[in-house]
Each structure stands twice: as structure tokens, then as C-alpha cells.
Amino acid sequence: MNNGIAGTSLRINLTIGEIERIESDEEVYRRWHGGRGVIAKILYDEVPRDADPFGPENIFIVNVGIMSGCFIPAGSKVEFGSVSPLTNGHGDSNMGGHLGPMLKFAGYDMIIFTGISPKPVYLYIDNDTIELRDASRYWGMGSLDCEKQLKKDLGEDFEIATIGPAGENGVLFSCITHDFGRQAGRTGQGAVMGSKKLKAIAVRGNRSIGVYDLESLKKQVMEIILRTKTHPNMEPWQKYGTSFFIKWSNDNAVLPAYNFQTTYFNDVGKIDGDQLVEQCLISHKACFGCWMNCGKYTKAVIPGKPIVHLEGPEYETIALCGSNLGMKDINHVAYINWMLDNLGMDTMSGGGVIAFAMECFERGLITEKDLEGHTLRWGSVDDVEHLLDMVARRRGIGEWFAGGSKRASEKIGGGSEKFAMHVKGQEMSGYDGRWSPGMLLSYMTADIGAHHNRSWTITVDIAEGRESVEGRAKIVVYLQHIRPLFDTWCICRLFWGEVDVTPEEIVESLNHITGWGVTVDEALRTSEMIWNLTRCHYIERNRDNGRAFDYPPSRSWEDKIPSGPGKGKGVTRDQIEQMLDEYYAARGWDKNGNPTREVLEDLGLVFAADNLEKLGFLGKPIPGGIPPVRGEKYKPKAF
């Protein structure tokens, strides 16, 4: 094919060990644009609504999208998807590195895993050779350790993705790790891999990828390369990655501290980007085709502990495993990062769960007896180490926390639901939304639970007024359409979205690759279609009005920020309800948060409207009709 598509997909039935090669369907890619879009459609069509996320009927999908591996900068991503055990809805997560391009070089666009293997296996792909190999000697190994061992056994030129003991044991926020530090962290994709007894994927390939108009693509790409090479923000990105924004978040009262109790951390100077570079940095690290090299290869040195090497910590991990846990030493944050990586747990949800547990301990809701004689004090890396071991092995009270903070709070009770900082079961990212109402709304309405990457509005809130919620909804809707396109096309938002490449230029690249003649408006509609499909899937699985799932924990409106620049600030419950009302109206959904037939039919999702209607959750018609265009671009901010 000459359209960025390799041409072959794999369907692998793990129960019987059958590997089937099928032709990649270009029509499906044309409609759903690959990556997250194709995943959403397959999950919606093929996973029964009552399927257990850990059961054989759940499907685990690896999709490399259209643009990954092509002659473009930062075409490095690979997308994973399944029904999430954490949220019980559509789940997807992606990683950079080199796996996605390598899979395409081997000749494959997608792998669909069904069933459950009777014994631990890993998938071996070397161009045309595809095998399910015995993984029993790797089962139980840490993610990073397993990758090292597989590279030793198979060859350094294999690209490898692994899960750790947490994924093997069904910790709901388990991740998939690759390239010694890139993770598909969110929504528990590592747990689904583990439930299928799939320890790793190892790929080597050396084929080329055909594109529609290589000369035009090369010309455009060279222009983008030369222009971004001298972009004023490129050098700071290359030197410092995302770690340098920790201080900004602290100064602007959005940095979570002590389980989102407050938004100002007095010791931020001990864990910020300066400290990372001075104390931990070994070298910069880049993904396929990218020279932003935002990755930082580092070491953590703590007296009495082995020196460990890792990639990170980046912004989210410093926030959620640093200030959020009261850590006052960047080496401690890096060590926690390494533990989570090797055990195979998302550092974001991991930080959120540990922080929740710490607050439970502080309040006496869990005790040393529950923790096998250990404490769980703010700022103690030793206490965190012990808890993580309990969680990864699901030992004792670790079993509760292995389900995430939502399920843990349901077990612990005592009012702990108030400070289990999740939405739909997924823990919040490293920004507190109490003085950033658009960010709070972004968390509330993200399809995969609280996650910042669908929509990030903090500078919008700062520019437009942090006390006001008016007008945020339409902007959040727009961002929820444009930002997930990166996950659909499998390119990195940091390169394509932070150094003045425009949406029009990205679509131009897509068209040079595919020949499709897509416009930005069409791309946004495709993304809106995907968004509505995942919403319908969520409602159908969870059998209630959508609004029931769109609330943050009550700390978000009951507790004003107690200290720092944001002292006394916070949203009210009334403002939360107002934002939801405006959001649903902006989306063409009814007041219950359910998509209406009008908007679903406008997006070509008649089948989804029919399914919602059968269940009694189709949105009621909106007087005056739906908005003709859903979402409004906030002019200065492209992404």
C-alpha cells in the first residue's frame, strides 16, 4: 500500500494459540484514522457489554496508526486499547519510543489479542516470522529487567514492550513499559495484558513503508525540521524536558501536594528540574525520529539503597510521586519512579494511590498493623517501597489499593471517598483543578477518567479568570477533539503541538502520507465521532446516565485550598453543575449527559443511537436543536 498503512494486521487467539494474518482494511482507517479511532470501533463492536475486563472476551489491541514510522518527525507512538479494568469503559494509552515504527517496519499495522493463554507467553515477530513463545522464565521479572533479558536473548535490535509483576497480578493501574522508560501508563492496559498471560511483545522488522507522495512529504518535513530546529523553545525542551514546569505549577497553585490537600509545596526547590539535572541526569533520550529528546536518562542515589537507573522523572511523576507524597529529595522521587516502572505500575495512578493511602494512614483509617508493622508517612521513601511491594503482590491490604483509590476507598470507608482523587476510577494527573475550573471540567469529562492529555486548560483559566467558569465548556470540547488526534494518528503531541507546527501542517503531512485530502475540520469531526462512540460505550457498559459518572471527589468543592498562592480558592458545587450543564449543551447531549440521536446521527453513529435507545439511555431531544459545530477554538492556543 502507498498510504502509510503496512498492509497486514494480526488476530491472535491466545486461548488456542492461533495466529491469523488479515489484510488491514483501508476503509476502516479512512473513517476512523487509526490508533485510538480504530481501537474504539473494534472495542465497541466486538467486546460484549458484560464482558469482564480480565476475561477472555476482552480484546487487547496494539495499533500503530497511520503516521507512526513514516518520514516525519516524532512519528513514534503506538496505541494500546482494551476495556479498562480501572474505569470499566473504553480504555486507551500510548507510548513513544521505537516499538510502533518497528512493528510497521515488520509489516504490521495492528495486533488484536483475544482469549487467555493457558501459560505465560510472549509474542515474537521478526518480519514474517510470528510466534507465541514460552515466557515462563520471564514471568515474575520486573518490566525493566525483563526487557534487558529479552534483548540479551533475542538481540539488541529487537524493540520490546513488557509488563511487570503488577500486571501479572492484576493491579488495575498496571502499565506497559518499553525502551527502559517509556510507558503506556493509563487505564490499566498492563493489567489486561497480564490477565491474558502475555508478558511481552518483541519485534524486529526492516521493510519500508509506502506513502502517497514522498517528494511532497520530504519537502514539507524538511521545512518543518529547519524551522523547529531554531524555534526559541526547542533548546530548553531539549535540555530540561518537562521537569522544569514543576516550579511554575507550584507558583500558580496547581501543583498537588499531600494528596491534593493543598497546591503549594514548600520544598519544591528540592525536587524541581534544576535538581533533576544537577543530581540525577546522565544523558538525554529521544524517541524515534525526534530531536526534542525530552526524555532524561537518570540515576537515583540514596545511601543504603542500590543505585538505580531509569528514564525520568518527568513532570507528572515529579508532581504525583514528589510533592503529592511530601517527598523532599529528587533522588527519592526518581527511586519511586524506578520502583513503579520495574513493578509495572503507572506512576500517575501509582502516585495518586500512594498519596491516598498516606492520607488514610494520617487519619488513622489504616494502621501499622494493616501495613505489616510499617508506617506510611509523608516523605518516606522506605514506607512507599514497602507499600508498593504489598500492592504489586496484592498482599494483605495491598489487595485493596491494587484496585486504585476508588475501590480502596469503598473498602476503607470512613469518609475516604472524599479524598480518593479520581474520576471514573482513574486517578487525577499532576494538576489540581480547584483554582483552574477548565482543568477540573477536563478531568470530569475525559472519556478515560481523570486525565490531562485529552484537554489541558490551565493557561486558559489564568488568562480568562480563574474564579469564573463561563465559557470553559466549549473550549474543553474543542481541545477534547483536537488533542486526541495525536493518539489517533500516533504522533507525539510534544513535538507537533508545542513548537508552532499548526493543525493545518499536521493534516498536510497526513495527506502526503495517505492521499486522503483530509481537512482540519474533517479531522475534528472524526475525533468528535470517536469521542461520542467511547461515551456511548461507557454508558452501555455502566448502565446509567452519563452524568452520574462525571463528578470529581467532593474534596474538589468542599475543601478550599488551605495554603500558598491559591489559599481560600476553589470551585463550588453549583459551579460544577453549571460547567456540566454547559458542557453537555456544547456537545449536543442532554442534561443527563447522554448523547442525543441528533448528534449521533450527525456523526454517522446511528447504530450507537439505536443501542442507547434500547437500553433507555438515549439523550432526550434538545429544544432548539444541537449546536451545528460542537466546541470552540480558544484563539491563542492551538492544542
Binding site: 524555534h231 526559541p232 523553545n233 533548546e235 530548553p236 530540561y240 518537562t242 522544569f244 514546569f245 516550579k247 511554575w248 505549577s249 507558583d251 500558580n252 528540574g273 534544576d274 518527568e314 513532570y315 507528572e316 494527573s429 499532576g430 490531562h452 492529555n453 489541558w456 490551565i458 493557561t459 489564568i462 488568562a463 488533542r483 503531541r493 510534544l494 503541538g497 508545542e498 513548537v499 508552532d500 484563539k635 491563542p636 492556543k637 492551538a638 492544542f639
Partner: protein
């Protein structure tokens, strides 16, 4: 004195470059901090994460010298 401010993405729209795609020439008083210069320009300093000049990160309390070129770094919009 004259300094040169550079910015990309969201900040570039607010800076209104006049030298090239990213750069604006600013006349300002010696001794002013970058934060004060931004306020004079009508740019909310909270929209700038840090400034970068001569290969080093500086805070918004940095006082530039005449002729200095300073990059305004916006916060990562989701790291």
C-alpha cells in the same frame, strides 16, 4: 534600553513579534525585571513558566541587560 523577547506557540500570539516570526524588540527601562516588562506589555506573567537566555534558565525576577535576547518559555500544556 532595548531587549529582544522571543516566544513560540500560545505566548507568541500575546507577544506580537515584530522582528521575525518569534521576536519582538522592546524598549524598556534598565533595572526592570522580566516580570515587570511583561506587565508593561499586557502579558500576564503567570503565562510564562520561565525565561531562557544564554543557555540558562532564569526566573521572571531576572533583570536583563541592554541588547539581551530572552526566550519566554510557556508551561508544557500537559506533560
Amino acid at each position: 534600553m532595548v531587549i529582544y523577547l522571543k516566544a513560540g506557540s500560545e505566548l507568541r500570539h500575546r507577544l506580537k513579534p515584530d522582528i521575525d516570526y518569534y521576536t519582538r524588540r522592546i524598549k524598556t527601562d534598565a533595572g526592570k525585571t522580566i516580570k515587570e516588562v511583561l506587565i508593561d506589555l499586557g502579558i500576564n506573567p503567570a503565562l510564562v513558566a520561565f525565561v531562557y537566555t544564554e543557555g540558562k534558565v532564569k526566573s521572571l525576577d531576572f533583570i536583563p541587560s541592554s541588547g539581551q535576547s530572552i526566550t519566554l518559555q510557556p508551561p508544557v500544556s500537559g506533560g
